[in-house]
Symmetry: D2
Subunit: 311 residues, 4 copies
């Protein structure tokens, strides 16, 4: 089944309820994004582009991909400019609904200025957390960090120094269910994305289901190599000449969810396991930041455990 | 003024006259490419996609770019599938002509199976030449190498061993005009692209004008740094930590033509000038091969001394 | 003339006076570094390694480079382990003095645990500053940040939040001399390195001379391309496919000092000048952090406006 | 047990018997390389450098590595200049023998001008083969390619066109033992290295033992990910964003031998399995060429299924 990153059961109510509406003076208020997937067949682009044109929208960017022009699945991202978009969005969505029905589309329309609300889960390591805090402030990752949840108190001062609520929820085997319930209570209705920024606890399938929104994890390895908890030790033992990091959506199948982004750094025989960890941190933070950035800009679609990234 | 790589004065006669028509059993025979540029305004994609749809074409890939949605220039690459394209191309072009007139488009339609005919100019170094010979045979660069022209005899056996005509035309200051005339006589009507694969002579403005088709050069530096003839010596003297290569279209303004592709490799204090040359060769051949590959696949547009590469 | 990064007129008094002596329980307290340059000739390594051996030191790492085995300059970095180094350093230095005299060496011996004291100069952009603060705390850059000096107040809270003194010294053309005097008064005896982490003012030759210690700058371009103050604008105009950053020592010759490190990131036609600035920031901070890290670990030697980096 | 790449039972007879002695006018005739491993303890460098000095050798380059200064294994590469090396090598080796005995060294001394003799095994794909032929001719890989052995006739003309003997030895399950015997008969006494340049047959443990020299393989994946025969198919199914290649020594444990070099290239959702194969080819050839180049320059040491590469 094709699912979309950041999907919700009702398309446009999702954002009305959940996102931040910036002031009308944000130039991104008039930029819309349309993300579509449907069975491939001729006429999709013609129908969508005509609909946008008739509503006065100018297409600024368009990216598409088809798994197979004959019988495959078609994916389309359109970014368009439409003055007064907030006011005219309902009418445009109504028109799109007809096209969507005719082409059996799964689709979603968002306003570029609306920022997704996210929570960050972290354990002791602060590098990925810091990178996200920093890029969110610099508007490179266009999201609102609503809270940070940690099973350690290590980063509490750091987070609160940024004016962001920090919640300490310790986790151990016997208290896991209780901890997850506490986490869910904090997240409920507050965020539409969780980012695991080196959170060293496994989330249960029940948590994933109850949360119901995308979760992005950073794994400190170039998956599928060295899946598991201590990739740098394994990398040192195997004597690889590259180490990497992988940002992926979290599924019930550990370390096997759809990959959004990966990168590597060269290493050599002189690197100790600690060196690999240190060098890996820099890869992890840039890989995670890019993945989260694309996600919150609606540029990632999940299809059959793989991602289409319209970067 | 906007010019397109590989443009010709009459759009569709260009390929009828000039390219290789493969057998009808090539699956790429039914794949068309439409390359368009025009003043940006709403409705372009709608008009083009409707036209393709009405002719039964299925859009496989679409990339677009606008320098400015308000008053800028719009560029569009569409790759489409249309069974029996060769037979139906004239009708499709006729329909496109009307749209083109309405939107003041510069445009071109090609068949993916048609391979551009190219000549390679080379001096003594054979690395870039070899890379092109090899990628053309492996169908990674989809072009026909019709001839190699050199001011040295060094690569004659190599070229002829591939079954490709080799022409030795020595060049010196007093004989340059005569040499260029001989080169032009060989090229006339035979090729629509010249690639300078480390050709160490400067082509005169008169040659460029007389040839009238695109010329791609590989410069052994990451331009604009170390423009000129001995970049590795200069790089060693400046103590840079990266050296690079640049593939660009040749214009009358030496080393200043539109850049298609660049890449670099890390170097360090231990590298002699010869080491830099040796390491640079590997960058040069991959950069040139990528640039030529994109060009012959109609993925490069020149606009105001810059390129749009729909890679 | 050959100069060494971080050199001082009297070799070992330098660190006695200037650096932080960690507790004796730091395992790096027993690790020494010997940095040597001298005219190349046979026997240097033999003499140095024998001296270390006779004092009970075990060589852990050794890197060397010669500009020319016949008549060139020889450079040597030796990292060694010697239990009780702090106590035995004077004796070892005395022995080394004899060898140094015999081979006309310029040399320096440091203890790995001693951290260099540095000041950061910054203007409005905080990305390079943040990276240094984080890496210093994470012990990836082994230096003590004693103060931050800025011509703007933008980063005051950030810096003070890290518990580091922040000094606001505005600079304008008429007040430059006065501002530099104020800066020098703060630096005097407090630091042995200044890092310009996107400090947009030019330091006068008089300042460089009065400070007398190394100054590292991050330039937001892959020098020598786009030297000057607005490289991203120039890069966009030239249509390059790579942008970069360069960390270099500051000399009186603007943007022309010895290069320590460079790196690049790929860009394409879609990137606006702002995109280039944003993408460039990530390259700048990693390039600067690597350069500063090598410098404070005594791994950089300056020779004839180039650097030897024993990374 | 520590073994060295290119090791032989008797150290200096190895090259007398097996390598190409170039004319005395090769400047590399006076450059020697000493490769040493032994239990780490103080005094090794002092003893070796003194020995070289006393024989009039000037150390040009030295690289060393210790797995652990206390009780680990020490590795040393020294490149030195000694006029009349061929004539004086025996005396130097005699002196080194004493030191080697005192420090329990495994060691080897070679002359830089001596080129290793290698055979290339290949199946149908010619890209890695071509790269090695070209780099050997360009003296970037300093080895003599004595023969190419293939289980297909595809590359016969290519190889013979370079003036290199080509041997067609088909392999199937029932004839494998017979084919390997034929291969060994060709290799016996002729080469000291086999390179598997995309040879798609598995060599039996018996073959490895009978050959007794190093064998380098290029695997078309970033091992340990996607070990096995069809990594690009698996990579496409997993949706990775990087694909790679790995050059490693062949051991009886398939795909698990010591890794010499790895590299990757970025891919995205648009890449078909064929695209991955095509893009992978370019990584494979550069990775293999670098690995072979280091090996034949005596810059690779194998230690506990990992490599130390003194690149």
């Amino acid at each position: 089944m094709m699912i979309m990153a950041s999907q919700g059961p009702v398309v446009h109510a999702h954002y009305v309820a959940g996102s931040q509406h910036p002031g009308a003076d944000d130039p991104r208020s008039d930029i819309g994004r349309l993300l579509i997937s449907c069975p491939d067949r001729p006429g999709i682009v013609a129908a969508v582009s005509r609909c946008l044109y008739e509503h006065g929208a100018n297409i600024m960017e368009s990216q598409q991909y088809s798994t197979n022009p004959e019988g495959g699945t078609f994916f389309l991202l359109v970014e368009f400019h439409l003055p007064g978009l907030a006011r005219r969005k309902a009418a445009l969505e109504l028109a799109m609904s007809g096209i969507a029905a005719a082409f059996s589309m799964t689709w979603r329309m968002t306003i570029a200025a609306d920022r997704k609300r996210m929570a960050i889960f972290v354990s002791r390591s602060d590098h990925a957390l810091r990178e996200l805090l920093w890029r969110a402030e610099a508007r490179e990752v266009r999201a609102d960090i609503k809270m940070v949840i940690s099973n350690h108190e290590t980063t509490a001062d750091l987070v609160r120094g940024w004016g962001i609520p920090f919640h300490y929820i310790p986790v151990s085997a016997p208290t896991r269910a209780q901890a997850e319930a506490a986490q869910l209570a904090l997240l409920e209705g507050q965020v539409e994305l969780v980012v695991l920024a080196r959170y060293m606890q496994i989330l249960s399938p029940g948590f994933l289901e109850a949360f119901g929104h995308p979760i992005i994890n950073i794994h400190h390895s170039f998956l599928p190599a060295f899946a598991g908890g201590n990739p740098h030790q394994e990398a040192a033992e195997r004597g690889v000449k590259l180490i990497g990091a992988t940002a992926h959506y979290v599924t019930a199948d550990l370390d096997a969810g759809p990959i959004i982004e990966q990168d590597i750094v060269r290493v050599d025989h002189r690197c100790s396991v600690d060196d690999l960890r240190r060098m890996g941190r820099h890869v992890e933070r840039s890989v995670l930041a890019r993945a989260v950035g694309w996600h919150v800009d609606d540029r990632v679609i999940v299809h059959q455990n793989k991602t289409i990234v319209f970067a």
